[in-house]
Homo-oligomer: 315 residues x 3
């Protein structure tokens, strides 16, 4: 799609044209991608962006780097939301190659395999599961019944995905209009799951808005866990039942999240951190190998001491 | 069904007969509906009921309005539970019209469309989804794979429902017998979802016991959210992941419920209220546009102050 | 399988041979089962075990009873994990009897019925549900659409299971290797559900690692509830939405767990206990008929008093 087509769709003036292949964040965009700046907080990232074009308010437009074309608008995030629809792939591909199925793999009846999807060797995909278009699944992977994997997602080798789990559903993203409407930000990224990952029943792992939600090798996920868009779950992490991770949470390797614990978004948790059951993480944790508990969060020992102090109030 | 048939089934004496079309609450019943009074708290509603008949203990039977026939019993709620079975519609209709499908709609294989159901134009209903009998779906609506919509529910235009979500499952209702059994209150209402609503993956929205659980236009619901029977979710509300709403919760327009927040039942939350993540609402909130947090709930600023005070206990 | 075959697979020396039919815990093993001792805490159970053989470290090997054969190893739990794979049944049986379906039962299209499974009389199993191999379902039971019941599970009479619920998925169990890998402990038990049980939508009930996860008669379970492996839910218990029970939790009869409440594992809760919404139970509750709230848990009245004291901190 050309930049002129996009700007025409958005009703924005644009003099220079260029081929645009997708949308992306300020930091990750390449010369053929369109980005945006809404939040002043990210203005320092502006000078280093490699984006081909940017949705930006007039106020900040002079600070954009050479080679990046400005699309001036009052509400860049809202404009991005509107533009995202242009890059939304088809719900169901009707053309393309039939899926490829490796040696010794069993695909039960009532399984849907999308166009251009590839299933490795020795896999079992059970009754009622949906494997969308352009999905890749490695070798020796088991998909239990009634799993849904949305288009473009990838699952590695030796994985087990239990029933009812949904991989690649849309992240929870929208921009507000002044008259109280929510404009969907189409989630055009995907989910990439490494090898030797086990995911319990009825979990939800949302696809990224741009690029990928990533579950690294060796991760273990219990039942009813929610992982939002653009999370990165490092190698060997353990997520116990009913954990909820907000968008763009990064867990470094071997983080353990206890049952019903949660994070707010856009934060990082250092390697080998343990969050006790019900812990609520609202800021990044930078020091590795520590244990935390509570909401607000305290170091686990401090939290235990604090509960002692609190119960003393009854005396 | 006639009142005599019902009272015979319940083993209650009844002299006057009347056609009864269903069960309903004290306030909402019409002259052809049967209601009940169990909880003294609602006795003031008794004099205004328009119900055709009422299950009621002898104690309160003299206060019922003219034209309302009393069915005297010791345990009216239990009697209601037993009667509810009489009005339970068929699990699966075997007669009736084939479903109607609008123009340009795509129904994938392995989708079930019930009798008398109507699908609008430009819809996509994906693999494995179940659309029960007498369901209505508007135009331009997308139902992702493995969604279940129970009979009699309605979904508006321009909606998106993600995989694994269940709409119209039975509300959690039963009456206790003296010997420790639970008698199911058949949930004979439905769910009505407005237009421009997006619902995430693996959510559950229960049907009403009487009338409708309502999700109004423009609502956005994240993954793994639970909405109990007879909730009313106002226009533009946002429910973040793992929210749990108890029965008969009313959210007025543009309420935001943070992740893992919850309500107890039978309460209202004023317009433009924000409940922070993990907030637990146990009483109605009447003043609009305020922010709340914690469990027990405090105004958000107070809650932050309180957390400061609590952490001072460690000094 | 013989003990020599198992020990060869594990690389453990074993002089005496014996037929071994399965794995089991120290207390429950019979003379043809292999057990393990990892945690010193259970050493008192060692002398009473009836197990035919035991994975055990050299340190404790002299304390095992006569007739129990020691398989000496440094990491018994890890060895158990590796051995568990040997007893994992087939994912999908391809031989065996066609399922038996009782009188007047309705099996909708797109339902999978596994080998050797038995469905009672007057049942309805709806579209998209998966009934695995060797599953038994009693009479008058309703399985709504898109339910998954894994192999070997049992459901009694007069049960209702709502859409999206998963019964018999693997418990969350694995042993750690020194180089940071998790070795799956195959969950070779099952789930047994009694009669007159209603289970809401999108719940997850994990199969036992050994023996059975048990849901007794008359239990009522709301939506999105998680029950981990080897839990025992007593007669008439009520679990409200989003409850999470950790592994080997025992609820005695008529326990009520409020919404979003939870337990840590390996504990018991006395009959007629009520846990308020959000309550977090971390120790066994031995006295029956009491109400508890909070996390940490207090008697409900004390918790209310404590909240008063806490809010006084704001003064």
């Amino acid at each position: 799609m050309t930049l002129k087509e996009i700007s025409k769709f958005l009703g924005i003036d644009c003099k220079i044209d260029k081929e645009i292949t997708g949308l992306n964040s300020l930091n990750d965009s390449n010369e053929n991608e369109l980005t945006f700046l809404e939040n002043k907080k990210y203005i320092n990232d502006l000078k280093n962006t490699k984006a081909g074009a940017i949705l930006i308010s007039n106020e900040y437009s002079k600070e954009i780097p050479e080679n990046c074309i400005a699309l001036i608008c009052d509400e860049p995030y809202l404009a991005l939301a509107k533009a995202s629809k242009l890059f939304d792939p088809k719900l169901i591909e009707t053309t393309g190659n039939e899926s490829k199925i490796g040696k010794n793999s069993t695909i039960m009846q009532n399984v849907y395999l999308g166009k251009n999807s590839v299933i490795g060797d020795n896999c079992t995909i059970m009754h009622g599961s949906f494997i969308g278009d352009n999905v890749q699944i490695g070798n020796n992977t088991i998909i239990y019944p009634n799993v849904t994997i949305y288009r473009d997602c990838m699952v590695g080798n030796d994985c087990i995905i239990h029933s009812g789990t949904v991989i690649g559903s849309d992240g929870f993203g929208f921009a507000n209009t002044k008259d109280g409407k929510y404009i969907k930000i189409y989630q055009n990224g995907n989910v990439i799951i490494g090898s030797d990952v086990e995911i319990g029943a009825n979990c939800t792992i949302d696809r990224a808005v741009f690029k990928s939600t990533i579950i690294d090798d060796g991760v273990r996920i219990d039942n009813l866990v929610h992982i939002a868009h653009n999370c990165k779950i490092g190698k060997g992490c353990i997520l116990v039942t009913q954990v909820g991770l907000s968008g763009s949470t990064t867990l470094h390797h071997y983080v353990v999240m206890g049952g019903q614990s949660a994070t707010s978004g856009h934060l990082e948790i250092a390697p080998f951190t343990t969050i006790a059951a019900r812990g609520g993480v609202t800021k990044s944790i930078t020091e590795p190998k520590k244990s935390w508990a509570g909401f607000p969060l305290f170091e686990h020992k401090q939290w235990l001491r604090l509960q002692g102090k609190i119960s003393n109030l009854l005396k």
